[in-house]
């Protein structure tokens, strides 16, 4: 009893094998891709080149992509929009945000009052899962996850972003195209 049942080839299969139809089909596929690479550069027909020239050409990320965090500032006064309400830290499921407020004395309607303002903002991107719940929680549209995706650093400490990095953005090498 054969362990493996190998069916005998039919006449069509024999003819196909004789005229090497499968070989010619394979050659046609590779030639099609080669011609496609030379003619259809943006892979419109599905046979062109898919490679992105990454550092030179920036890829288009998806519209709902969440990347590097940023603290927005008032465009005119350059004061931070953050009111140190701590809602983002409370919303964060990974507990990677630390809002460190400080008290300042302000005079409201002639009376001295104390007010919380933002002193330091710590955002640990190594623990962040980019769910953007902090962005949802922010009442002043201050904290935002941008579409910037270059987050790699040389050390583990480099993943922890402070207020300055969050406000100014991190410096990365930009390649000329």
């Amino acid at each position: 009893m054969p362990l493996v049942a190998v069916p005998k080839p039919t006449l069509t299969q024999k003819l196909k094998r004789f005229f090497m139809v499968d070989l010619l089909k394979g050659l046609a596929v590779t030639l099609g891709f080669n011609i496609g690479a030379l003619t259809d550069r943006d892979a419109v027909a599905g046979k062109g080149i898919y490679t992105e020239q990454y550092p030179k050409v920036r890829p288009d990320v998806a519209p709902r992509f969440h990347g590097a965090p940023r603290l927005n500032m008032d465009p005119e006064t350059h004061d931070t929009l953050c009111i140190a309400c701590n809602l983002c830290a409370l919303a964060c499921p990974e507990d990677c945000i630390d809002v460190i407020p400080m008290d300042v004395e302000v005079v409201v309607a002639g009376k001295p009052r104390r007010k919380k303002v933002l002193d330091e903002f710590i955002f640990d991107t190594s623990r962040c899962m980019f769910c953007a719940l902090c962005q949802e929680a922010c009442p002043t549209y201050c904290l935002e996850l941008t579409q910037d995706f270059e987050l790699a650093t040389y050390s583990r400490a480099g993943f922890v972003w402070n207020r300055e990095m969050l406000e100014q953005g991190r410096e990365t090498v930009k390649y000329k195209s």
Binding site: F18, I49, T51
Partner: protein, 440 residues
């Protein structure tokens, strides 16, 4: 352009001031030619690697090398510099001298064949050896010796397996490669490669049309000789790490790499010469007739390079289309398909030539028989020869399927059909059925 073409006469007159005419003609010019061919071949080899990477990338919807120079055109130079500066590592207990010498044998065997390849008419030929085809066959098979030596001396099991495969592969293609050429030589009536081209030029036809089977067998054997996919068993990077050159690094490894591509270039050049008319192209001779001799040579040279380039593309194309053959499949192909095909080709071609000569009453099939310039067929003779070529195709197909009808499926499938469980009487299951009592 024309200043460039006038340069040889200028250099010639300059050299004649310092040396005698014999020295210039037989020593200095050959050296210049050799130097040019070595430089051109090296450049060709370097850019063959570039083209291979580009074409493979295109076939896989990638871009290939892009960073070094525009479109990555300087990539071969960067690779060469990198390999030159790498450590030359010798494994422990390796056979040092053989290990050192093997890459040079490979390179020399591949490059030396270039000496007899006619790149074009007149000064584009370095030497016209009157047994050129034999020389090519003999020297290019020395390259396999280098692979065997490299694999043996490496003191590594992968390298040794690669060398073993290489030696077994050699015996299965070399015979059919030699036999495949004979058909073309019957029409050319000479072993000189320039003579073969002249024969095709005087007939104004490519031997491909007379010898379709011969061309196919020669090309397949050539791919096997160069260890290119789908016959890259000695390298087999998915099975044997890197095969025979597993233990090589740096410059020696790059020599093997160069040898592989140079051997490819050689086989394409010889296939072009024998079957695709070499540098011959219709109407190019009118340049010579109009008096532009050097331009004629250069155009012929470009024709030759274009034809060889097409065959080189075929190499890349096949490599990225076909998976690697299994060891026994290559043996099967070599001994049961290509060798009979080459033999049938010889017999049918011989009959064809005899028929053409027999019909020649009153110059109906042959213009005039000359020594070393082909048969000189008339139109009728060409038609008969092409007819024999087509008959040859059908006959070979028939005989091959007759020979191989039992082993059409390669051995493994055949064996699988017949696998039976041993030590069991027929009709009884292999595992005794579990009875209801024991299950409880």
């Amino acid at each position: 352009m024309f200043a460039l073409l006038a340069a040889p006469t200028f250099i010639d007159s300059l050299l004649l001031k310092f040396f005698s005419e014999q020295t210039v003609n037989y020593v200095i010019w050959p050296f210049i030619q050799i130097g040019l061919v070595v430089v051109i071949t090296t450049g060709w080899v370097a850019y063959a690697t570039y083209l291979e990477r580009k074409i493979s990338a295109f076939m896989q919807a990638r871009l290939g090398p892009m960073r070094v120079g525009p479109w990555g055109l300087l990539q071969p130079i960067a690779d060469g510099l990198k390999l030159l500066t790498k450590e030359d590592f010798v494994p422990e207990n390796a056979d040092r001298w053989i290990f050192f010498v093997a890459p040079y044998i490979a390179v020399v065997a591949a490059f030396i064949v270039m000496a007899v390849v006619p790149f074009g008419p007149d000064w584009a030929v370095i030497t016209d050896v009157n047994i050129g085809v034999l020389f090519v066959l003999a020297v290019s098979s020395v390259g396999v010796l280098a692979l065997i030596l490299a694999g043996w001396s490496s003191n590594s099991k992968y390298a040794l397996l690669g060398a073993l495969r290489s030696s077994a592969q050699m015996v299965s293609y070399e015979v059919s490669m030699g036999l495949a050429i004979i058909g073309a030589l019957m029409f050319a009536r000479t072993l000189s490669l320039s003579g073969v081209v002249t024969a095709q030029g005087s007939d104004s036809i490519w031997f491909l049309f007379y010898q379709p089977i011969g061309f196919a067998v020669f090309l397949i054997s050539g791919i096997a000789e160069n260890n290119r996919a789908p016959f890259d068993l000695p390298e087999a990077e998915s099975e044997l790490v890197a095969g025979f050159h597993t233990e090589y690094s740096g410059f020696r490894w790059s020599l093997f790499f160069m040898a592989e591509y140079a051997a490819m270039v050689v086989v394409t050049a010889v296939a072009t010469t024998l079957y695709l008319g070499g540098w011959y192209f219709p109407w190019v001779w009118r340049l010579e007739a109009a008096g532009y001799h050097n331009l004629y040579v250069v155009v012929s040279l470009l024709v030759f390079l274009a034809k060889a380039g097409l065959l080189l593309y075929l190499y890349f194309w096949l490599r990225w289309t076909l998976p690697r053959f299994r060891y026994d499949q290559l043996m099967d192909l070599g001994w049961k398909w290509m060798l009979p095909a080459a033999l049938i080709n010889i017999v049918v071609t011989a009959i064809g030539v005899a028929v053409i000569q027999g019909l020649n009453g009153g110059g109906r099939t042959i213009d005039q028989v000359q020594v070393s310039s082909g048969l000189g067929l008339t139109a009728t003779g060409k038609a008969i020869a092409i007819g024999f070529g087509i008959v040859n195709l059908l006959l070979t197909a028939g005989i091959l399927s007759l020979i191989n009808w039992r082993s059409r499926d390669f051995n493994l499938k055949k064996q699988r059909r017949q696998i039976r469980l041993v030590d069991l009487p027929k009709g009884k299951p292999a595992v005794a059925p579990v009875s209801s009592e024991s299950a409880v």
